[in-house]
Structure formats: structure tokens, C-alpha cells
């Protein structure tokens, strides 16, 4: 007799909750769920934006692996980029966060400055600026010439272009840094004091205290950054548009080119779905691996 009214009350609150999130739900259905399902549908057709789509079964999916000459190159480029940019970004963010964790006058000012690149995040203007910096006649080469180093074709040389373009992503380390900073603040001082008493060097303190306690944040950053890195498009597209010699031809560019340049919307949808599945699998693998290296204070039971 006592439980019944409570349940009713919860139900009532539930309706209110739904009412308040209606705008979001509408937005989700119209702007995300519908396009998602539509693209799944298109991926089984030969839709090209101008014709009426015709169902062709799994042909689009078969085509990727058998006929598309650019497919393997774009997969290769994307993987190299992810494997390079994501760890670099996390390491860089952690290093800067450690520096900014030092008690110093005006530290808040520095924190703001270091976060700035992320506010500009991925915008076209930054990409254009980046292009100017790394041109043959650009600032970087002029700086190198002061040390009598020959100019380097940062963006024109197929062997270096991918590296140069990835630098932009690494440079936008702000959000990961903020998370690390919050994590560092949470580590109890007593642990460091205890380590000091036991005679641990700074390096050992980092390795045995800081790093283990930060693993949940490393884990979170790893998942988020990996997902983002796979989908990266704007910056490389503006700076090199896939060139030179397809050396920065990311998977997202392959999708874009097929969809909008070659009018193969159906095929582009299929490519997107492959990427979607790949990201899910990789994320799942990272999650599976987490019990082996991520430390949770509560034993990770929740």
C-alpha cells in the first residue's frame, strides 16, 4: 500500500522529464536518426542525388574492396594519421597539464592561453593560416633559414605532408588538457608526500602515482580522440585537399569525393557505414582492454 503511490509519482515525473527534453528528442530524430537511417537505406542503392535510387543489394560494399583504387590508400592514410596524432595529442596534453598544475602566480592566465587553440578548433581560418605558415615561402621555412637549414616542402612533399597536417590536430590539445588538469587536481597530496618519504624520485612519482591515477582520464581521452581522428575532414581538406599524390587522402575525403564529386551518394553512404562500424569495433576493443590498464578507485565495479 505504501509503494503504489510512489510509483505513480515517478511516472508523473517521467512525463515531465520527457516534456522538457522534447526539443532535444525532436532534434535527435530529425537531424540525426533520420539521416542515419536514410544513409543506411541509400547505401544499398545507386542513388546519385539526381536520379531515383535503385536497390542494388550489397554491390556498394563489394565494390569498396574489389574495384575502388583509392580505398586502400585512404584507409592506410587514415590509420597512420590516427596512430600518430592521437597518442601525440594525449602525451602533449598531459605534459602541458602537468606544467600548468604547478602553483605559480598568474597560472590562470597561462591556462587560458593554452586553451585558446581549442576554441578556434578545426575552423577554416586556422587551416588557411596553417597553410601559410608551412608554405615554401612561409614563416617556418624562414625561421629554419636563420639556422641555415634548407627550405622544406612541408605541404608539397608527399612524405611529410601528412605529418604537417596532423600537427594541427595535435596543436588543438586544449580539451584533453583541461580534463588532465582536473584529474591531476584530484590526486591526493598525501600520496606524493608518502612517496617522497619513501625516497621516490620525481620520475618515479610520476610513474607510480600520477599515471595510474590518471588512467581513467587517459582512457576517456583515448576513446574520444580516436573517434574524432577517424572522422577528421575540414583541416586536411582545406590545407591540402588530399594531395600531394594522395598522401593526405583521408577516408572522410574519399566519402566526400564519391558523394559530391562523382555523384555516387549510395556508394558514399556505404563507405560511411563501413567507417561507422569500424569505429564502433575499435571503441569496443578499447573498452574491452580497459580492465587491464585503467585504475578505478572503487575497483571499477560501476
Amino acid at each position: 500500500m505504501k509503494i503504489k503511490p510512489r510509483i505513480r509519482e515517478i511516472n508523473k515525473y517521467q512525463y515531465w522529464g520527457y516534456l522538457f527534453i522534447t526539443p532535444w528528442i525532436i532534434g535527435f530524430i530529425v537531424l540525426q536518426l533520420y539521416p542515419l537511417l536514410a544513409s543506411l537505406n541509400y547505401s544499398f542503392t545507386d542513388f546519385n542525388m539526381l536520379n531515383d535510387p535503385r536497390y542494388i543489394g550489397f554491390q556498394n560494399y563489394i565494390r569498396m574492396f574489389t574495384k575502388d583504387v583509392n580505398f586502400s590508400q585512404s584507409v592506410k592514410v587514415t590509420l597512420i594519421r590516427v596512430l600518430f596524432a592521437v597518442p601525440m595529442k594525449i602525451i602533449f596534453a598531459l605534459m602541458v597539464a602537468m606544467l600548468l598544475n604547478i602553483r605559480l602566480k598568474g597560472m590562470n592566465f597561462y591556462r587560458t592561453i593554452f586553451y585558446l587553440p581549442s576554441i578556434f578548433g578545426g575552423s577554416v581560418a586556422i587551416s588557411v593560416l596553417w597553410k601559410f605558415l608551412f608554405m615554401r615561402e612561409g614563416l617556418i621555412n624562414r625561421l629554419l633559414s636563420v639556422f641555415s637549414i634548407k627550405p622544406v616542402d612541408w605541404l608539397g612533399n608527399p612524405d611529410i605532408a601528412l605529418f604537417t597536417v596532423s600537427l594541427v590536430t595535435i596543436w588543438e590539445f586544449g580539451s584533453s588538457m583541461v580534463l588532465f588538469l582536473a584529474g591531476l587536481k584530484q590526486i591526493p597530496r598525501e600520496l606524493y608526500e608518502a612517496a617522497k618519504i619513501d625516497g621516490a624520485s620525481l620520475l618515479k612519482q610520476f610513474y607510480y602515482v600520477t599515471l595510474p591515477l590518471l588512467t581513467p582520464i587517459v582512457f576517456f581521452n583515448l576513446v574520444m580522440q580516436t573517434i574524432n581522428a577517424f572522422q577528421e575532414f575540414t583541416t586536411p581538406f582545406v590545407i591540402t585537399s588530399g594531395g600531394p599524390a594522395k598522401s593526405t587522402y583521408l577516408y572522410a575525403m574519399l566519402i566526400y569525393e564519391n558523394g559530391f564529386k562523382f555523384l555516387k551518394m549510395g556508394y558514399a553512404s556505404a563507405l560511411s557505414w563501413l567507417m561507422f562500424i569500424a569505429i564502433i569495433i575499435i571503441t569496443a576493443l578499447v573498452f574491452k582492454s580497459s580492465p587491464y590498464w585503467v585504475y578505478y578507485g572503487d575497483g571499477g565495479s560501476t
Binding site: 546519385n48 583504387v69 599524390a245
Partner: protein, 446 residues
């Protein structure tokens, strides 16, 4: 509880009422009184036409000005401009077409013929609108050859475009190259080598991979004298010819005749911004003539010649095209009004004078005369177009040869060769095999 619900409902009601009000206010002001409209049926109904184009700032200004003039002359028509840069324009337009929200009147590029006619009919055949559009001012042959596809006239041509070699007169003087040199592929190489010997910073040819590909298409056409891909899906380029073309490209780059791709690639489509060109360290470059105004803005002393030729050539390979056309979207509700506007846009004297050459040399004799009489024509560009027309290729590229996938593959192969990823033989084999497979696929689809 009830109270809260009622408050919420009131708020929602207010919101709905408010939004409805804001939505209807302008309409209430602008729309003519329905009773009046009924009593005066001869007065045309008020309509809004959306007009879209891409291009540089000068084109936007002139077009907007002309649209205002038209609105004054036709008070029932309201014109709404949608314009922007060429980059990404086609993607945007395609999305609009796919969603059925494309503009009523749109500027169309001749490279889209294949896409626009091989699927759903995107634009209305201009031949059916001759009641409103005067096509007699145009050269019929020009309309049939360059603006029609399978007998469908896709739009009204806005200009004549061609190809040529733009050169720097001071550069030629500095290295003792006579301006009246008849360029052949052989002396291009020889003179280029000499220039680079004299100054290791100087290159005779300025070319990104994209332009190199277009230039070498002329070489190919001079050799074969036919379409690159025949209408029956035959690939007319042999492996031997492709190897030869790629070898020639590699020689150009290795001998310092052409600027290395490593630095040229950063100025793809914007070689006017290439610092080496601005400093006068590059001699000449292949150009679509519609791009000339951009190059004429600089202080460089420029001239134009036709493309290099070879002995026993079967065709000149000098591409002539319309560049841009004005078309009527097949989904529009106001076909007649769209056609009337386009007619005025290309045939009215005031419109011609205001627009000038923002879309290249006009396609009608009347417009060209009007402009030169008013002293508004750019003689450099018209001379360049005339040189191109004198040397015009007999091959009007068919849709298959203009296929975007073929073009992208071609550019990519030139890059692979230029960056030494593939030898000329490997590149020729790769391109040939891939194209044969692609063409078979295309053939089976149609």
C-alpha cells in the same frame, strides 16, 4: 499540478500566437489586397524568383545591380540572389537539386552537362522557351555544338571561353625568347632547359598537376585527333601513348622546364598567387581564358599565345567552351517569368553594359559590339579568345571524356608520376587498366 499544466499550456499558446504573428506580419504588408487582385486580373501576380551564380566579387556586384534594374522595370517580380565562391558550389547546388529546392534561375557550368542530362532532367530545354527567349542573337552553330547535349539546349551561354598560354613578356625578354616563337613540344623542352641553365631559380613553365593534365590532354588530342573516350565506351588512349605522355611530363619536371610539383601544388587553381610567378621567375602557363582577369590585376607585362603543337598533328587540342550558361530549373513554378528574365539578362542593352565582361567575353555579336562601342571591352581578353577561336579544336568533348571520375584519376596519375611514385610505364599501365574496368562498368549500367 493542474495549475502548472495550465500555466505551461498558456505559455505554449502564447508562443504559438507570437510566432504566427511574426510570421504573418511581412506578408500582410507586402501582399496585395486579394479583393483588388480579383478585380484586376490583367495585373500579373507578384512572384519571387531565386537566381543563383558563383564567381568573384565584381560579378556579384554587377549581377545584383542588374537584378535591381530588372525589378524596377517589372514591379511584380522580386529577385533574390544566391551567390558565392566556386569552391564547393556544385556540392551545394546538387544538394539543393536533390532536395527539390534549387533556385529558379541558375548559372550552370558546361562541365555538368553529363550529370544534368544522364539522370533526371535538371534544367528545362531552352529550345522549348523560344516564345520568351530570343535565341536568334546567338550563333546557332555555337548553341548546337557547345551548349546542347543530345539535342537539349541546357541554357543560354553567357560567354565564350577558350584555352591558351599566358606568358610574361619581361621573362621572355630577359632570356632572349622571341615573342613570336611558334611553340612546339620540342622547342618548349629545349628553350626550357636553356632558361633553367641560365638561372636555376627560373622555370619556363608554371604548372600544377591539374593544369599539367589539361595541357597534356591537348598533346594527346594532337596525336589521336579523336575523343579521349568514344561514345561507345572505347578508350582511345593506348598504353604506348600514355607512357609517352607521362615520360614527356617527367622530362619537363626533371630538366627544370616546369616548376617542381612540390612547390607548384600549393597554388593549384590560384597560380596568380604563386610568389615565383609574381616575382617573374616563371615564364608561361596554360590557362582557361576566363581566368585571365585575375592575372591581369598584377603589374606583370603579359601576353598570350596558342598552345604548343607537334608535327603532323591531327587536331590542335585548343578547347573552346561556353564556360557558363544561364538555365531554368525544371522544378520552378514560374517558367515563363524565368525565361523572360534570362532573355533580358543577355539581350538588353543596359544589362549588357552593366554586366560588362564579368562572365567573360559575351556570346552574342550584339553584346560584344555594344561593349566595344562603349569602350568597356577588355581587348586583351577578346584578343585571347580570338586567338583561341582561330586555333579551335574540332573535337567537342563528349560527356564520357568529361566524366569527373576519369578526370580525377588522370590528375592523380600525373601526380604519382610527378612525385616519382610511379614510373611512366607503371602509370600508363595503371591508368589504362583502371579505365578499361571503369568503362566496362559504366557500359553495363546503361
Amino acid at each position: 499540478m493542474k495549475k502548472m499544466i495550465s500555466i505551461l499550456l498558456t505559455i505554449m499558446l502564447l508562443l504559438v500566437a507570437f510566432s504566427a504573428c511574426t510570421g504573418s506580419t511581412p506578408a500582410g504588408n507586402d501582399a496585395p489586397d486579394p479583393t483588388k487582385a480579383a478585380s484586376a486580373p490583367e495585373k500579373p501576380e507578384d512572384i519571387t524568383l531565386r537566381v543563383s551564380w558563383w564567381g568573384p566579387e565584381a560579378r556579384h556586384q554587377a549581377t545584383l545591380e542588374v537584378m535591381e534594374m530588372y525589378e524596377k522595370l517589372n514591379s511584380h517580380v522580386k529577385l533574390q540572389g544566391e551567390y558565392g565562391d566556386w569552391n564547393g558550389w556544385y556540392d551545394k547546388l546538387l544538394t539543393q537539386i536533390a532536395g527539390g529546392t534549387a533556385p529558379d534561375v541558375m548559372q550552370v557550368n558546361d562541365r555538368w552537362y553529363y550529370d544534368f542530362t544522364s539522370n533526371k532532367q535538371v534544367v528545362i530545354d531552352m529550345n522549348t522557351l523560344t516564345d520568351y527567349v530570343d535565341l536568334t542573337t546567338f550563333d546557332k552553330n555555337f548553341l548546337d555544338t557547345y551548349c546542347s547535349y543530345n539535342g537539349i539546349l541546357l541554357g543560354v551561354p553567357l560567354g565564350v571561353n577558350g584555352t591558351g598560354m599566358l606568358y610574361n613578356k619581361d621573362f621572355f625578354a630577359k632570356y632572349g625568347i622571341p615573342e613570336d616563337t611558334v611553340w612546339t613540344w620540342d622547342n618548349l623542352m629545349e628553350i626550357g632547359i636553356e632558361v633553367h641553365k641560365k638561372d636555376s631559380n627560373a622555370y619556363l613553365l608554371c604548372s600544377d598537376p591539374n593544369e599539367m593534365m589539361t595541357l597534356m590532354r591537348a598533346y594527346i588530342k594532337q596525336k589521336i585527333g579523336t575523343q579521349l573516350i568514344a561514345d561507345d565506351y572505347t578508350f582511345n588512349l593506348s598504353k604506348e601513348l600514355l607512357t609517352e605522355v607521362f615520360q614527356y611530363t617527367v622530362d619537363l619536371l626533371d630538366n627544370g622546364v616546369a616548376e617542381p610539383f612540390e612547390s607548384a601544388v600549393l597554388y593549384t587553381n590560384v597560380s596568380n598567387e604563386n610568389p615565383k610567378w609574381i616575382r617573374g621567375e616563371l615564364g608561361m602557363q596554360f590557362k582557361y581564358l576566363s581566368l585571365l582577369p585575375r592575372y591581369l590585376e598584377s603589374d606583370l607585362n603579359l601576353g598570350i599565345v596558342t598552345l604548343p603543337v607537334m608535327e603532323g598533328l591531327k587536331d590542335t587540342g585548343v578547347l573552346i567552351s561556353t564556360g557558363n550558361l544561364m538555365s531554368v530549373y525544371s522544378g520552378t513554378k514560374h517558367v515563363e517569368e524565368c525565361a523572360k528574365f534570362i532573355n533580358w539578362f543577355v539581350n538588353d542593352k543596359d544589362a549588357i553594359l552593366t554586366l560588362g565582361e564579368v562572365r567573360g567575353i559575351p556570346a552574342t555579336d550584339f553584346a560584344r559590339k555594344t561593349l566595344s562601342e562603349a569602350g568597356k571591352g577588355n581587348t586583351f581578353v577578346s584578343d585571347a579568345v580570338n586567338i583561341a577561336l582561330e586555333n579551335a579544336s574540332n573535337i567537342v568533348e563528349n560527356g564520357l571524356s568529361q566524366n569527373q571520375e576519369f578526370e580525377a584519376l588522370l590528375i592523380d596519375t600525373f601526380e604519382q608520376v610527378g612525385f616519382k611514385r610511379l614510373t611512366p610505364e607503371e602509370a600508363a599501365n595503371f591508368l589504362y587498366d583502371t579505365m578499361i574496368e571503369k568503362l566496362e562498368e559504366l557500359k553495363s549500367q546503361n
